[in-house]
């Protein structure tokens, strides 16, 4: 079936450097994509979203890029901080009626080294 997956299970980045977390998705009909951050012992928290009619969206220190041609989503974190250490999930949804639900990827653990 359709799935959303992440390329790398763990990413180590030095404090102050930029981080790039990647996500591949297979449902070309996906309408909406979200990045979540999950810290240890907590539930996932919304970071940033992007609709399928966009290719880039920026937030505070974060940017999401969407390449529909190759079905690829990325999350860029500028000037990575220790507080950014967490597992990051991408998720996608196709709004095809009341049965629409988010599909989550496997997750990437971001480790920020000092």
């Amino acid at each position: 079936g359709e799935n959303v997956g992440l390329h790398l299970p763990t990413l180590s980045v030095q404090e102050g450097d930029n981080s790039i977390i990647n996500c591949a998705y297979s449902n070309s009909a996906s309408d909406y994509f979200i990045w979540y951050k999950q810290e240890s012992g907590k539930g996932p928290q919304f970071i940033i979203d992007i609709r399928s009619n966009m290719d880039k969206r920026q937030g505070q220190r974060v940017t999401v890029l969407l390449n529909k041609t190759v079905k690829h989503l990325s999350l860029q974190i500028a000037a990575t901080q220790p507080g950014d250490s967490a597992v990051y999930f991408c998720a996608e949804i196709h709004w095809g009626g009341t049965a629409s639900k988010l599909t989550f990827g496997t997750g990437t653990r971001l480790q920020v080294t000092l």
């Binding site: 979200i34 539930g43 919304f46 597992v87 949804i93 629409s100 988010l102 990827g105």
Partner: protein
């Protein structure tokens, strides 16, 4: 500040016991979800509800059951807990088609011994 609450946060229980994990949200969201997540792993949808008296099974088969008698409340029950049920259970809610994504609770970490 999360408006979706899960209790208990941690639970250690013996095999064969019946347990209910509580989830409540104050946002008036019509849709609610239960996910099961092993540490550092992906989230698996086990149950969801699109409104009062509506419940559906998710993508991952689960021996748990849910009910939705009130909009704000979506408890999950295991009639007879087993060690294989040891996991983290996350509750979430969304408005409409999930336009703004899902809001997650902090989770219940269940250990069955």
């Amino acid at each position: 500040e999360a408006d979706i609450y899960q209790t208990p946060r941690y639970l250690v229980i013996g095999t064969g016991k019946k347990i209910t994990l509580e989830c409540s949200q104050t946002m008036g969201h019509d849709k609610m979800y239960w996910y099961q997540q092993d540490p550092g792993m992906e989230l698996h949808l086990i149950h969801y509800s699109y409104g009062v008296n509506s419940t559906e099974k998710g993508d991952l088969s689960s021996e748990s059951t849910v009910s939705r008698i009130r909009t704000e409340h979506f408890p999950l029950t295991l009639e007879s807990a087993r060690p294989s049920h040891t996991s983290q259970y996350l509750c979430a809610s969304s408005e409409g088609q999930g336009v703004n994504g899902y809001t997650f609770g902090s989770g219940t970490r269940l250990t069955v011994v």
